[in-house]
């Protein structure tokens, strides 16, 4: 099966080239065929392990396609066979920048690493020794206009969020002590309060309401011991990678999916959804790691290689999947575009529709959803890293 690779014609000949080209095509097609199983959904080859832009299946396909000629050319040269290389049509060579290297260095160096027109103009003026008011050339003015019409922004210059609870949220917060103790709703309320008040410090066992650490550990242990294996995926990590999660060399690290009846019955579903669980060599649960974020609120997409439950950079906070192009799985839940078995949705969701269709301001655990979705509409919400360690009896 070719998987629709549009392979270029190879202008080189020879037994070595032929063998290599066949091997190359076979491997490339197997990479494309197994991508979803091995890269996007297998814990061993997770997408985030790869450098950008190699995280995208279609980008990889293009690069594999065009890399064939280059790779086979090297094989041709190594084989030492006689004859010409090939004829290249130089008329279609890549475009060259319009500026010389010296000109590019001059322009970029003087713009400075700033992201507002005023700041960039100011930097330009200072570095070029100009005097106020700055008189920029038309070319630089046009460049700045172009930059800002395309919308690049520096996350650090975003206006600060309103980090105060609304009146309704304050009322809910006051009712927390009345919530059932056994269902982790108090823990969830504590996390939600952090999410709403822009407190993104790591939530640890010390932040759990009194007595909840043991019951949470017991619930996780029960899930670990009795839930079907399909919801528990061992992560094949190196010692160094384990250490990122705070796990020791002999500990095991697992990805537990609580979106199932087993998670629901143990009250873990709405608190964690999916989380990383650490067990010692005896199989006892000793820790759990997660990021408290929402597909219908703000989501955390770590780009710096850090792991769940650890501090993050604010620029990695983005809008939840509902508010971006997404597909829907069989349960009508949002999943990334291209997910096998899912169907395309009608593009990014309207915040108000999402709130009204998926939440309820007064009904059960949908109160939390309603609060998050409403906060999103007002530009509020800060994911909270969760790193809870348990002391086993």
């Amino acid at each position: 099966m070719s998987y629709n690779f549009d392979w270029p014609e190879i202008p080189f000949t020879g037994a070595e080239v032929t063998a290599f080209v066949n091997a190359y095509k076979g491997l490339a097609e197997s990479i494309y065929e197994n991508w979803f199983d091995e890269v996007e959904y297998d814990s061993e080859y997770h997408t985030s392990y790869l450098e950008n832009p190699f995280t995208n299946r279609e980008v990889i396909k293009e690069l594999l396609t065009y890399g064939l000629i280059y790779a086979s050319f090297i094989i041709k040269q190594r084989s030492g066979g006689g004859g010409p290389g090939t004829n290249f049509d130089l008329s279609a060579s890549p475009y060259r920048p319009q500026l010389s290297d010296a000109e590019k260095t001059y322009v970029i160096g003087n713009l400075g690493c700033v992201f507002t027109p005023e700041a960039m103009k100011s930097a330009w003026q200072r570095k070029t020794g100009g005097t106020a008011p700055p008189r920029l050339s038309d070319a630089v003015e046009d460049l700045l206009d172009d930059l800002f019409n395309n919308g690049p922004t520096d996350p650090e210059t975003q206006p600060p969020q309103d980090c105060n609870l609304t009146a309704r949220e304050a009322i809910y917060d006051g009712l927390v002590p009345l919530l059932p103790f056994t269902t982790f709703l108090r823990s969830k309320a504590a996390l939600l309060k952090r999410y709403l008040t822009c407190d993104n410090s790591v939530f640890t066992e010390d932040d759990l309401p009194a007595g909840q650490a043991n019951s949470m550990r017991d619930a996780l242990q029960d899930f670990s011991d009795h839930a079907p294996d399909q919801y528990k995926t061992p992560l094949n990590l190196t010692t160094e990678q384990k250490a990122q999660y705070g796990a020791g060399p002999t500990d095991t690290v697992w990805r537990y999916d609580f979106y199932n009846p087993a998670g629901e019955s143990r009250n873990l579903r709405t608190l964690f959804g999916v989380a990383v669980v650490i067990k010692n060599s005896s199989g006892q649960v000793i820790g759990v790691r997660d990021d408290f974020d929402f597909v219908y609120g703000k989501e955390l997409n770590r780009t710096d290689g850090s792991v769940a439950g650890t501090p993050y950079q604010s620029s990695d906070v983005g809008n939840g999947l509902y508010y971006k192009d997404h597909w829907l799985d069989l349960d009508k839940q949002p999943v990334p575009v291209g997910t096998p078995g899912a169907t395309p949705s009608n593009g990014p969701g309207n915040p108000q529709d999402i709130r009204d269709k998926n939440t309820n301001p007064i009904a059960g655990d949908e109160v939390g959803r309603w609060t998050v979705a409403t906060a999103y509409e007002n530009g509020r919400g800060t994911p909270v890293p969760i790193s809870i360690n348990f002391t086993n009896p």
């Binding site: 063998a19 091995e38 450098e51 995208n56 065009y66 890399g67 094989i75 130089l90 890549p94 620029s315």
Partner: protein, 256 residues
């Protein structure tokens, strides 16, 4: 796909610099030029961005609510345009990863397709393109203990170094032993004292050394920015490395 991307992927970026030879034969013109990877020694993916560029790209991706710097090569994502030069670097990264996955042994100087399952080869392919912190150092191409890509071929003894116009000239004794039958030699200089240390090569920046040009049995040169220096007696060693290339990597161009 953006036109500049398409052109970048379809055509080699020629650098007709030193080493180019023009030969006129009747009405045709043949050019023999050195054509190799942009980074002829290393296998580290070039996609890592420097801090300033990374900051800028993260800002842009945040503005567009996208957690990947590049999601597509299509026109629909014009704000992810990183330029044709970067695209060609990506192409080199993937090409190297495929060569490493397919070819036998350390993949250097060979045309032999290695044995092993497709699964094992895919692991090598992914492993080559992983971020540093996720690389499996127990398998190709990052294998530790000196048997991986950066394995030292041999060790030579520089006795004199000089520098002219940012070109370092190294004389060894005894002869360095590198044959001109190959064009993939590199060097990591480890000189001991004084000005000689300015000729050294940082393995954190160049883990497999820098490419060299063989002058004769006892002399080689490499690019090394610094002040002009007359021939100076030195002590120390130099690790000889092998990078990309082969018996002859000259690209032939024909204009008729």
């Amino acid at each position: 796909m953006l036109t500049s991307y398409s052109l970048a992927l379809k055509h080699l970026s020629l650098n007709t610099g030193a080493g180019v030879t023009n030969i006129s034969i009747g009405s045709s013109l043949t050019i023999f030029d050195m054509q190799n990877f942009n980074d002829p020694m290393n296998i580290i993916p070039s996609s890592e961005l420097n801090s300033s560029c990374s900051r800028y790209m993260i800002g842009r991706s945040s503005a567009f609510e996208d957690n990947q710097y590049i999601t597509s090569l299509d026109l629909e994502s014009p704000y992810h345009d990183v330029g044709y030069g970067k695209i060609q670097e990506y192409l080199e990264d993937v090409t190297k990863a495929m060569l490493l996955a397919i070819l036998d042994g350390d993949s250097k100087r060979t045309t032999t397709v290695g044995i092993g399952s497709s699964y094992a080869k895919r692991k090598i392919f992914y492993n080559t393109l992983y971020k540093e912190r996720y690389r499996d150092k127990t398998i190709k191409p990052w294998v530790n203990s000196g048997i991986g890509w950066t394995a030292t071929h041999s060790i030579v003894n520089p006795v004199f170094v000089s520098r002219t116009s940012n070109i370092a000239i190294v004389t060894t004794s005894p002869a360095h032993g590198m044959t001109t039958a190959y064009d993939d030699w590199g060097i990591v200089m480890n000189l001991n004292t004084g000005i000689a240390t300015s000729f050294n090569i940082s393995t954190s920046t160049y883990p497999n050394g820098v490419p060299i040009k063989i002058v004769d049995a006892n002399t080689f040169t490499y690019t090394n920015v610094g002040i002009n220096t007359t021939a100076t007696a030195v002590t120390g060693t130099a690790d000889v490395k092998v990078g990309w290339g082969g018996t002859s990597i000259n690209l032939h161009l024909y204009f008729t």
